[in-house]
């Protein structure tokens, strides 16, 4: 219910925002077109009508799942974006996995041994991960691994395999080598965040009485860390990561541009350049929808991890 309202309000903000940005006619209509052709063009795109009418038309079509046709490609904007979505999703998911797989153990380690040199290096590294701009790191990675060392390709997706009707890179070696660098680049920021969250969580949980009690039960240290500590620190990590995943998808724009990754972000940048309004609007709407969906998933995960937020099932 709340989510639906969010989507409607966002649609208005997005639509009016894009309306104000600029007039696509100037870019789309060729310079040598005469006034009549111009009028025709404007009329065919529905740009002659007042703003609210345009919005009304947009909404009534959007409800039926039609977010308009691209001015440039003359194809439904939604299809164009969905076509690019698997690439972006793949990138984002791989980046998320990297952040989790490396971030949690490193963070827990740093939390367990806060005074050791290794954990101090981890923390310093995470500050770099936070503060270096993504695009710069991306360019430096290309310079190092693609240009100087020649280990990894710098652009494109490589071999793709069709899995469940979607082209996926990661399952072939060539594709994997293509996805690795952009994914690491995209993951760096989240990785630093996960490290810091896991470390802070570990340090907090370790001093709780229930950890001491677990020790008093004579449990092995590995079990205390893997079960008692881990389950508690996963709660904040999952919450934040879930919310950040939307951001990962939405703002992979920079990484996709640097690595010429053919995803939604790159399409968006191209469309903004051409003021291809329906694509911009459709893209933003999809992102809004994604955020709402992810929020829901996070809530579900949260209740799996933390029994205290589960609705009480009354059976006495």
């Amino acid at each position: 219910m709340q989510s639906a309202l969010v989507v409607v309000i966002m649609s208005f903000i997005v639509f009016s925002g894009v309306f104000l940005v600029g007039d696509p006619v100037e870019i789309l209509v060729s310079d040598d077109a005469d006034q009549e052709e111009r009028e025709m063009m404007i009329k065919s795109m529905g740009l002659d009508k007042p703003f609210l009418v345009q919005y009304g038309i947009f909404i009534s079509k959007a409800i039926k799942g039609d977010l308009g046709d691209s001015f440039v490609f003359q194809e439904p904007a939604l299809l164009l974006i969905l076509d690019r979505m698997p690439a972006t999703m793949e990138l984002a998911i791989v980046a998320l996995l990297i952040a989790i797989i490396f971030g949690i153990p490193l963070g827990v380690w740093a939390g367990l041994k806060p005074e050791s040199l290794a954990s101090k290096s981890i923390m310093t590294g995470s500050i770099l991960g936070f503060s270096l701009p993504t695009f710069w790191v991306g360019i430096m990675m290309i310079l190092l691994f693609a240009v100087m060392l020649g280990w990894l390709p710098s652009t494109g997706r490589g071999d793709v395999q069709i899995i469940l009707g979607m082209p996926i890179s990661i399952f072939s070696w060539d594709g994997f080598s293509h996805v690795l660098m952009p994914a690491v680049n995209l993951a760096l920021f989240k990785l630093s965040m996960v490290i810091r969250l896991a470390r802070a969580g570990t340090r907090e949980v370790l001093h709780q009485d229930y950890i001491k009690f677990a020790r008093a039960k004579g449990l092995k240290e590995t079990r205390i860390i893997l079960i008692h500590v881990m389950k508690n620190i996963l709660i904040p990590v999952v919450t934040v990561l879930g919310l950040e995943f939307g951001g990962l998808v939405a703002f992979s724009v920079v990484t996709e541009t640097v690595f010429a990754w053919p995803g939604m972000g790159k399409l968006l940048i191209d469309s903004i350049g051409l003021l291809d309004r329906p694509i911009i609007v459709a893209y933003l709407m999809i992102i809004v929808f994604l955020f709402v969906l992810i929020n829901l998933l996070v809530d579900i995960c949260y209740s799996i991890l933390d029994p205290r937020v589960r609705l009480q099932d009354i059976k006495s």
Partner: protein, 333 residues
Amino acid sequence: MPLSESPTIEVKDLKTYFFTKGGIAKAVDGVSFSVGRGKVLGLVGESGSGKTVTGFSILGLVDEPGRIVGGEILYRGENLVSASPDRMRELRGVNISMIFQDPMMTLNPVLRIDTQMIEAVLAHESISKDDARQRARDVLGQVGIASPDERLRSYPHQFSGGMRQRVAIAIALLNKPDLIVADEPTTALDVTIQGQILYEVQKLCSQTGTALIWITHDLSVVAGLADDICVMYAGRIVEQGSVNSVLDKPMHPYTNGLISSVPSRNKRGVPLAQIPGMAPSLLKLPKGCSFGPRCAQFSDACDSIPDISNYENGRQIRCHNPLDKGTILRVMD
């Protein structure tokens, strides 16, 4: 207790210091006591007197920057101070277990009760999960939890404080330990629950022969429960002996002060007695007897730390000017 039987636990001159930035805090400084099979020792003192650290020392759970720097903890003759961490882990939960003060904090909030109980069994014995669950179920029943099967599937937040403490006690009892260190387990509970738990713990200990160290600041609890009592002040035991003789005729001025501080009905209208001043910081202990500055019996002799003197009935007092000198004082060695 037959004379031939050695005590379950014997603590000799235990010293646990905390090496903090502000200096060395001697949280436990030369504590000695022993507890025999099926006996209950009450360890009494104000907050910060070193009772809890004594308990944690026995389990080898003293946190940084604390360290046991001297003395012996003999569990059935085995010195725990020099035992390896692995050996300590083997002993914890099976031979020696502990109940903590705050039942709201001792159970992991995100794990079900059965997980937390079964893991305590499986950490020490290779039996099937079903057998472990069966044992958990039985012990929960023993500590007075109704419908244990259903309760096993619950999470800690679904229990009240008293119920959680029962679960914690059940976990402590799971592997039939020889010694339980109970660190103010009833302090956070209301009086009726406290009474029930005291009764049950006492019953279980006398049935199974488990030795019990009951750490508390509540003299009335000790009076009804313990066989012997140790009164701690600023890291040292200032008085110990059988619970009746100590409570009836306290010889150390501090013990006397503690007993007079218990509000009771027959002093209506009279201001409650209190010990003047505050417990000293362990980083800035007064020279000589640490209770000196608060003591009404203070004399010049108290500028040196008093030794332990032995009195009849096995009583020990660390004081230069004990009360009731005329009647009881008879130094034994």
